[in-house]
Amino acid sequence: MNWDFRTAEELLKLCAYKYMDISDIMLAREMQLGELEKEEIMEEIDRCLRVMNVAVDKAISEPAPSMGGFLGGEAQKLNGLEDSKQICGTVVHNALINALAVAETNASMGVIVAAPTAGAAGVLPAVLLSVYQNCDISMDTLRKGLINASAIGYLLTRNGSVSGAEAGCQAEVGSASAMAASALVEMLGGTPQQCCDAAAIALSNLLGLVCDPVRGLVEVPCQTRNTIGAAGAFTAAELAMAGVTVHISLDEMIRITYDVGRSLPESLRETAKGGCAVACNVCPGAMHVAPTK
């Protein structure tokens, strides 16, 4: 049996043929290609989940200023928002806190899991940990969610790009959002087809998002972009699970995202020469930081 699927279409065929979830197929692929035991893979998955957890908790309990001086304490602030103003509802509210928190941990040289990149590292822990905290989800289902996300990330890497320098923020936060959307669907008992639909919706909703980091640092607007990646994942998952028709397949959406990314001007691909990066008045709080050039 060859588990090395190359497209979402092949992945879905394997799922149908074997009556398996996307995470089961991805796990079988990793065992086959990496010549690994299931236990070894699960140990590493658990390590990643632990790192994600600590990355969230640390920024909420002991916020640290970021290297560039733009970030620090945002997650704690949102965590303290009074109940009557939490308009997003508990699950999304907690996800937004987690997303801010991981971005802060990352920007202050804490330990994070790049998923698929450091810049977009907040999206997956935001969604997965919030659902685990607030919904009736087992630890095993949480692991399956992370593995499911890696399958979508693998397809994006193989057939598109997850690099902001190559294809803009849509390739980083957009990819992470698609991964999280698919993970959500599997965790909540949706079908493999619905997982791919959710990923396709999430990608199309963030299509064209540019990479324009102020001073070239992973701080502004990266931190809040992580929150929209997370919120977008919930949106896409809910639509897909309701059976809202998806007109563009995941495979095609990956190709489209890649094409759009490559056609973005260089100034909007991580060079800090366009978009938010050239704003004249960036946060005066950061003025004590010496310009890097």
Binding site: L33, M109, G110, A114, S150, V162, L217, E219, K293
Partner: protein, 224 residues
């Protein structure tokens, strides 16, 4: 060693000290490699930063990551944050040169000049090519190309007949399977480096066996 495929943990990972896989994690990995290749302990290290490393190193903690790697820390080691202090305690002198003039083939490039207390030196140049992955492109003035995805033996030697046969003989004796073997040199008869990537664990005694031959000047092992 690992098969060449996109792994689950290339996507969910690496676990790393932030904020940037290329500017922080990759920088630590290059310096870590340089430290492994250097024979003995460096007392003084000069890092020369080019391109995007030179432009944004401070906000990405590239300097701390480089020092951390030189102290033997892997990219997920939190001591990278306090690497300047750790270096002072370890008695390692560090120096940074920011070169915004010279154009390198890759924007994230660093040159590392290491000097030991006894005066011996080694220059390593590395590129951070994305997602924390790296490539070593120069040793002293010789162009090389390897990445540490395998356990690797780096042999510095005179360029003369019989060297390759001797090295493969040593490895065959210990039943070590060679994944790739390449020799790099600038001119016939001068210094050369042979980079041997292997599928198997490399026993330390290989180092002595290779070193015993006249004409071999250094043997360093990067164990995965």
């Amino acid at each position: 060693m690992r098969n060449n495929y996109i792994s689950m943990f290339d996507i969910i990972g690496p676990v790393m000290v932030g904020p940037s896989s290329s500017h922080t994690s990759g920088a630590a990995a290059i310096a870590w490699m340089a430290r492994q290749i250097f024979t003995g302990a460096p007392a003084h290290v000069r890092f020369t930063l080019y391109g995007s490393f030179a432009d944004t190193y401070r906000g990405h903690g590239t300097d701390r990551a480089l020092i951390g790697g030189m102290l033997g820390y892997r990219p997920d080691d939190v001591r990278i944050r306090t690497a300047f202090e750790e270096a002072r305690e370890a008695g390692l002198e560090v120096e940074f040169v920011i070169d915004t003039e010279e154009e390198m083939p890759h924007p994230n490039t660093v040159g590392i000049d290491m000097t030991a207390a006894d005066g011996h030196t080694l220059y390593i140049r590395g590129e951070s090519i994305g997602g924390g992955r790296i490539r070593i492109t120069r040793m002293n003035d010789i162009r090389v190309d390897f990445n540490g995805d395998y356990s690797t033996i780096i042999v510095g030697h005179r360029d003369e007949p019989g060297m390759a046969a001797f090295m493969t003989g040593c490895l065959a004796e210990r039943r070590i399977n060679i994944a790739s073997m390449r020799m790099f040199r600038n001119a016939k008869g001068k210094q050369a480096f042979t980079i041997i990537e292997t599928d198997d664990f490399i026993p330390d005694l290989i180092q002595d066996e290779l070193n015993a031959r006249e004409g071999i000047t250094s043997v360093d092992i990067i164990q995965l």
